[in-house]
Amino acid sequence: MTVLNETTIRSALRAFIMESFLFGNTEQAFDDSDSFMENGIVDSTGILELISFIEEQYNIQIDDEELIPENLDSINNLVSFIARKTAKMG
């Protein structure tokens, strides 16, 4: 995974979260390392929405045991997780 690809993933995720959960409100700023759940950015229904987005956008299948905060609960965690998953697919 190149730096450019990670940057693309990062900005696509941020755009999706801003649009879907924060209605584009840029005043609700959050860092790439902020926990979605702890900061009230995404709730458990939102996580399902996020999973659907990632599976469709990156053509990957997320297994049940991968549904953990270490993989999904911040932009940074998501970027690393997606990078790992897509790298495995070659």
Partner: protein, 322 residues
Amino acid sequence: MQFNKDSLKINAEKVANQLSDLILSQIGGILKKGGAVVGISGGIDSSVVAALCAKALGPHKVLGVMMPEKESSGESEKLAGKLGEKFGFETIKEDITEGLAGLGCYSERNEAIRNVFPEFDENWRCKIVIPTNILEKKTFNLFSLCIENEAGEKKTKRMPLAAYLQIVAASNFKQRLRMATLYYYAEKRNWAVVGTGNKDEHEQGFFVKYGDGGADLKPIGHLFKIQVFQLAEYLGVPDEIIKRTPTTDTYSAEVTQEEFFFGLDFYRMDMLWYAMENNVPPEKAAKVLGLSVEQVKTGYANIKRKIMATEYLRREPLMANV
């Protein structure tokens, strides 16, 4: 602060008397109503609330309404009837199956289930569950769908968003129709609807907004589930009700409240929650509860997440205030 195995022990007699006085003053004094209508399911919470109302107002001012539907357990109805006999209040039965069918509860839900399991037959049973090992790993509280055919064979799959939302929305007709039915009987008598949710349900969001969450007063909404058990013992709620595993009575397959929503047995969840609310250091809570520090931290985080994620359910309609 003091934290030990008895931290959630209550003086049941004192609490029952306080709540009885409160029910009387709220229904008679604040709401100006003449009695109490309680939806009774044969579960421990509704039994305690009905018994408290009978104590506060006299049994002749209490109406227990049983509202089974075709997927309810027959046991619920039998136990609810026993409760009415024990405390001497009137009970009536209102089967809501036809109303639910008219609203599309079953058909809309089954359509969504077939998007996940195309082979699902309407005579099969279904339930939705969450992970029940919440102390072992940090996990999201994501629902899975479980179906069971007539031979008892089960299949479980995580639900995609659209199916999840449709199944929940359709199933919530059950609680909302029950609420509408309770208000019908309450308004007909100029009585109040008394809610039966406890603290676990209210604060972690295990209720349907404007469904079982819709009531005029909620006398046990501040009590932990394990405190409700203590009150039940004191009030003399029948043993079969106290010993029964709490279920949701929402899905056709048997589903406990632990696997449907809370993900942890009531004793450990309530004690962890109490410890968290009172800022008990994880090391101390771990020692008292026989858990590891990591398990306590994971439990604290899970409870906090549920409270935050369900804030919307507890909100009153937002007003403009301009």
